[in-house]
Symmetry: C2
Subunit: 330 residues, 2 copies
């Protein structure tokens, strides 16, 4: 079978089944990060591959922003486990006509975010390549039990941090060349696309206070990532469209797209988590310390109901084609 038929998630599942297990690996392939725990240590590892032409386009991304985002997306995976990031390993394939100051800009983007978060670049590999490729691996500490995708229960509330859809709408506007003048709302959306904020404080607080029963970061789009939680936890979900947190800029510029990018856009790097209804007050209180709004957007239902989005009147709405798979062709 060709990979284009199997798809990215089929490949991951195939690999997961093929590899041997180890009792020190508490969570292996199939969560935001792997969790290893031995008598003496407990740590998280996550990895991301970013390829020119697949994940980014140097026509509309500066190397500084690319460095920043490389670290940000990995920080987000550690945040989604409730962990504390620590060590970055970075391998780069670079075309040989690149200038050294381009590479310097890339590392400046990495460093600016790394020093904010006490992350140290400890190693990696470099090679010449036809197009720029970035492979990052981030190791984090797990002071509390990491939050997997699999603990959601029926009747749990579903929450999301921040706002949804900003990044994907920015990308859409960039692709349509309707964002040449990046001012005001457009500038805000662009910054959300180029410099996503990993919700580390929120993730760590939810982990420390045992408030999230399941958690994931929204990288492939709300509905697709919610699907990962639902599959791992064996639940379904109702999502209320009118509760989706949208930024002022999104509302101003989404136009006919409505909530489409908020539901299925991708690259939000917000945290999506489930929690017990009895913890609502504690979660409300946590918002200040987490420095980000936490919005209740739905509820978990039996798995047989699947994922349903309801509009303001309670009617089912058709789901947009959800998420992204690198291998599958449209």
């Amino acid at each position: 079978m060709k990979l284009s038929r199997l798809g990215e998630f089929g490949l991951i599942e195939r690999v997961r089944r093929a590899v041997p297990t180890n009792r020190n690996v508490r969570l292996g392939i199939g969560d935001d990060a792997a969790w290893m725990r031995t008598k003496t240590d407990s740590f998280l590892v996550t990895a991301d591959l970013l390829l020119e032409g697949v994940h980014f386009d140097l026509n509309w991304t500066s190397l500084f922003d690319l460095g920043y985002k490389t670290l940000a997306v990995n920080l987000s995976d550690i945040a989604a486990m409730g962990g504390i990031p620590a060590y970055l390993i970075l391998s780069l394939g670079v075309p040989d006509d690149f200038q050294t100051d381009q590479i310097d800009d890339f590392y400046k983007g990495i460093s600016s975010l790394a020093s904010e978060n006490n992350v140290t670049l400890v190693g990696g590999d470099t090679s010449v390549a036809d197009t720029l490729l970035i492979s990052a691996c981030l190791i984090g500490h797990a002071p509390y039990r990491p939050i997997s995708r699999s603990g959601a229960k029926i009747k749990n509330d579903i929450y999301v941090t921040g706002t949804l859809g900003d990044s994907a709408l920015a990308l859409q506007l960039l692709k349509n060349k309707s964002l040449r003048q990046a001012k005001g709302d457009a500038s805000y959306l662009l910054s959300r696309h180029h410099k996503p904020t990993a919700r580390l404080a929120a993730g760590a607080l939810l982990g420390r206070e045992h408030l999230a029963t399941a958690m994931i970061d929204v990288s492939d789009g709300l509905l697709q990532d919610l699907g990962h939680i639902c599959k791992a936890s064996a639940v379904g979900a109702y999502i209320w469209e009118d509760k989706l947190p949208l930024s002022h800029a999104y509302r101003a510029l989404a136009g006919k797209h409505g909530t489409r990018y908020a539901m299925a856009g991708g690259e939000d790097y917000e945290l999506l988590f489930c929690a017990r209804p009895s913890d609502r007050k504690r979660i409300d209180k946590l918002q200040k310390r987490a420095q980000v709004p936490l919005t209740r957007i739905g509820t978990c239902v039996p798995a047989c109901e699947g994922i349903t989005v309801l509009d303001r009147s309670g009617s089912l709405i058709a789901l947009p084609t959800s998420g992204h798979d690198h291998f599958k062709k449209p």
Copy 2:
């Protein structure tokens, strides 16, 4: 400046200087693996990037062998620190016309070596790509103080495990198409090229018994990797050409190339280490447990003497163009 002028090692040095340090990082960029140590844990991390067309050619490498070698080269880096390998993180970029059984073969190659060495694949990332790309990151334990490149002293002996040049000679014969019938000696050289043996037992024993003052694995060629030890330790070296350990197959097939590939070939994945002359007997005794010959090939001298290769009569011999730099053009 273009990267092609700066070169790979120039780039690494530039990155090393640019990144902030952290007191938990005992060894950062610039050794075979990074070493992190906190109150509770002590671990090693190494990374390798393998790109189709740069590091391997699918015309003469099977996907099984490629998987095997991907893990082997990372095991070798952990061996060179005296560590114990544990967790593998593997990111893959795969052309979308690849067949799933090709990917299965690749993972079988990984798994066969992983299970021998108690290594668990814990995560990674996947993406579609134009050509196959493999980015591996291996985490290991450091039960004893890791052996860096920087502890060699003047008058230390210089040793190498196993034999040198087999892999590079095999590659040369493959490129010249003079290895179509892989029998006998040729078959031996090919197996050394496709399935290098990481010297984990030797590395761990040298670490445990504090016998090596400096160590590195020979991936870029003996003289280049010896150069890394000399630079980090501020010493020079004499190497005796007639002491270089050569396999029967190498002697049979090297012909006019003589010791060229043993000195500057690359991809040997043998351990090169320095030791005190007073420890010669202990090192001799260690060979059995290490399950590999340990050959004394030279001695450390003052840095101002640089690296010198002497022939049987004690005359200086001209050094072959040494090693490999991905960015620099010949």
